[in-house]
């Protein structure tokens, strides 16, 4: 029989008989969240993987069409719940662009600081969980101890550990108190020691390096072609970082570098996140000492932001503004337009496409979720690797199912 002879479909099926199918998830300790993979295995080697998602789909975008611009911030908290403040900042960044609001310098600095804290928190989780999945338990505990410190800062700031819902249209719900600043300073002082320890634990760890180097390699061309952004793209040699390329908030004021790796494998993605945390620390150090004085919200007379309770009860302008914004038949002056604004979230470009129709509620609130786009890469990353590499690749992509399914 010549090699070129075509084979029938039944024959292909019988030749693939020895492959067997394995369901990975939806409930599996290594997926960390609810997602399902159907793996086709040849012994221990993964021939093909089919992601099956949607288990956590709860219609966040539909809800965005029924909650007003301030209320929806609580929903964005629950998208990427690992770094909720970054979502808050992204959402209200887009809304303020639509409404044409220029926020105050102090608000810009505070939003920058909390975004960077969120980035550190997110990177700690993703590297920590990746370490946990490939067997580095101590590393995970070191990471989670520091995450606890960050949660403590958010609790002091907003009263909530997990879902601070910190931003409001035109400002913030809470200002920095001296205690918050002190806690952030303590964190900046103590964190580098832990970071050193963490790097010493894994960077040259034979088991970790063997399990992650050369696994799930992405080339630079593929990465951009598949719309990937953030650490996943930068680990493959893309230098795009919205903090530098399209400076938003106060990022133009700080001296920091965009980290970049060229290998494009799981180890590069881990290494890049570790390096980015150091850059975030640099930004934090500069920002926390230079927070400008002044109000956190745009002026009460502009009728763009909810005044605080003291203003509402004690001044006539505050009362009127509150009334104007809260009453159902009044509210923000929204143009009948649509706009897109994005930030560099810990996971990549997180943007919102907001359509205004003159009412208090967005006509459409589309979220560009980095996890969703990165998870589409998974089948081509895992093809040809072993079953035990599945968790390493999943961990390095940092898939958050709540953001994946929304």
């Amino acid at each position: 029989m010549s090699i070129a002879e075509p084979i029938s479909e039944a024959e292909v099926e019988s030749r693939e008989d020895y492959l067997w199918t394995l369901n990975f998830g939806p409930q599996h300790p290594a997926t960390h969240t609810t997602l399902r993979l159907v793996l086709k295995l040849d012994g221990e080697r993964v021939v093909d993987a089919t992601p099956d998602i949607g288990f956590l789909h709860s219609g966040f975008e539909k809800e965005g069409e029924h909650l007003d611009y301030n209320q929806y911030v609580t929903i964005t908290d629950r998208m990427n719940y690992i770094s909720p403040v970054a979502n808050n900042v992204a959402w209200h960044g887009a809304v303020e662009k639509l409404l044409g609001i220029e926020i105050t310098p102090r608000c810009k600095y505070i939003r920058t600081i909390v975004s960077e804290l969120a980035r550190i928190s997110d990177h700690l989780l993703s590297t920590g969980a990746m370490g946990l999945d490939v067997g580095a338990f101590t590393f995970f505990l070191y990471a989670f101890y520091q995450r606890e410190v960050i949660y403590d800062i958010f609790e002091t700031l907003s009263g909530q550990r997990f879902h601070p819902s910190l931003t409001r249209v035109g400002g913030l719900a809470y200002d920095f108190t001296p205690l918050v600043i002190e806690k952030i300073r303590t964190f900046i002082k103590n964190f580098p020691v832990t970071l050193d320890d963490m790097e010493r634990l894994l960077n040259r760890n034979r088991i970790f390096v063997d399990r992650t180097k050369g696994v799930g390699v992405l080339t630079k061309e593929r990465v951009t072609n598949r719309s990937a952004t953030g650490p996943v793209a930068r680990a493959s040699g893309v230098t795009r970082d919205l903090r530098k390329d399209e400076p938003y908030l106060a990022y133009a004021d700080f001296d920091f570098q965009v980290c970049c790796a060229t290998a494009g494998d799981c180890f590069a993605r881990y290494y890049l996140r570790m390096a980015e945390m150091r850059e975030s620390l640099k930004i934090l150090t500069q920002a926390i000492e230079n927070v400008p004085a002044g109000p956190i919200n745009v002026g009460v007379d502009e009728r763009k932001t909810l005044p605080n309770k003291a203003q509402v009860y004690q001044t006539i302008e505050g009362t009127i503004t509150h009334f104007e914004l809260v009453m159902a038949n009044r509210g923000f002056e929204v143009p009948t337009e649509e706009t897109y604004a994005a930030i560099e979230s810990p996971n990549g470009e997180l943007g919102f496409y907001v359509v205004g129709d003159g009412s208090n509620v967005a006509y459409r609130a589309r979220c560009r979720p980095p996890s969703y786009i990165h998870f589409a890469l998974f089948p081509e990353l895992i093809r040809g690797h072993t079953l035990s590499d599945v968790v390493a690749v999943l961990g390095s992509l940092n898939i958050i199912a709540a953001e994946l399914d929304r």
């Binding site: 072609n225 598949r226 795009r240 006509y363 560009r368 786009i373 589409a376």
Partner: protein, 185 residues
């Protein structure tokens, strides 16, 4: 509008004819006809260097004030070398809810287009795997359309092959059968 955008518009005009462009708070947007979409996108990807497809989404203008069309597809493009951004919009009306897929140009469109199909029912011709992604396969409605209510329509009306008892004479009988079933257990 940046000089880059002006050059892009000029190139589009030469290849595909005059197109309505607009600008809002620094976003430059162009509206492309359904039939010229693939040609225009090839030009944007090929000679204008838009190598990153940031997002594909859709807006249902059913209840929008002064809207002339039912759906507006939105392609957000970015050029990673020059940081130029462009929003490409395509207006669609029933019954012709089909556009060519962008998968051959940007493979990242695969899941983004699947989501638009899932939520709005826009068909992407030539897509390699156009199935529902977030909603279950048996689902029959398109939940992000404006005529779909927030609370949903109930499982009986939107899943294929699932029939709820109709409120007529037989309904009583069915309910009683169900009840007895539960009592027996």
């Amino acid at each position: 509008m940046t000089p880059d955008n002006a050059t892009t518009f000029e190139a589009l005009k030469i290849r595909c004819g005059q197109m309505p462009t607009s600008e809002f708070r620094g976003d430059t947007r162009v509206v492309i006809g359904q039939d010229k979409l693939l040609e225009a996108m090839r030009l944007l990807k090929g000679s204008r260097g838009f190598d990153l497809l940031v997002d594909v989404t859709c807006v249902d203008y059913l209840k929008y004030r002064d809207a002339a069309h039912r759906f507006g597809l939105v392609y957000l493009l970015a050029n990673t070398a020059t940081n130029e951004r462009l929003t490409v919009r395509v207006y669609l009306d029933e019954p012709e809810l089909a556009v060519p897929t962008m998968f051959p140009l940007w493979s990242g469109a695969e899941w983004l287009e699947r989501e638009v199909y899932d939520m709005f029912g826009i068909e992407f011709v030539g897509h390699p795997d156009l199935r529902r992604i977030l909603m279950p396969d048996e689902f029959t409605a398109f939940p992000l359309r404006k005529d779909y209510p927030l609370q949903g329509r109930g499982s009986g009306t939107i899943f294929k092959g699932f029939r709820e008892p109709r409120p007529d004479a037989n309904a009583l009988c069915i309910v009683s059968v169900r009840l007895s079933f539960h009592v027996d257990r």
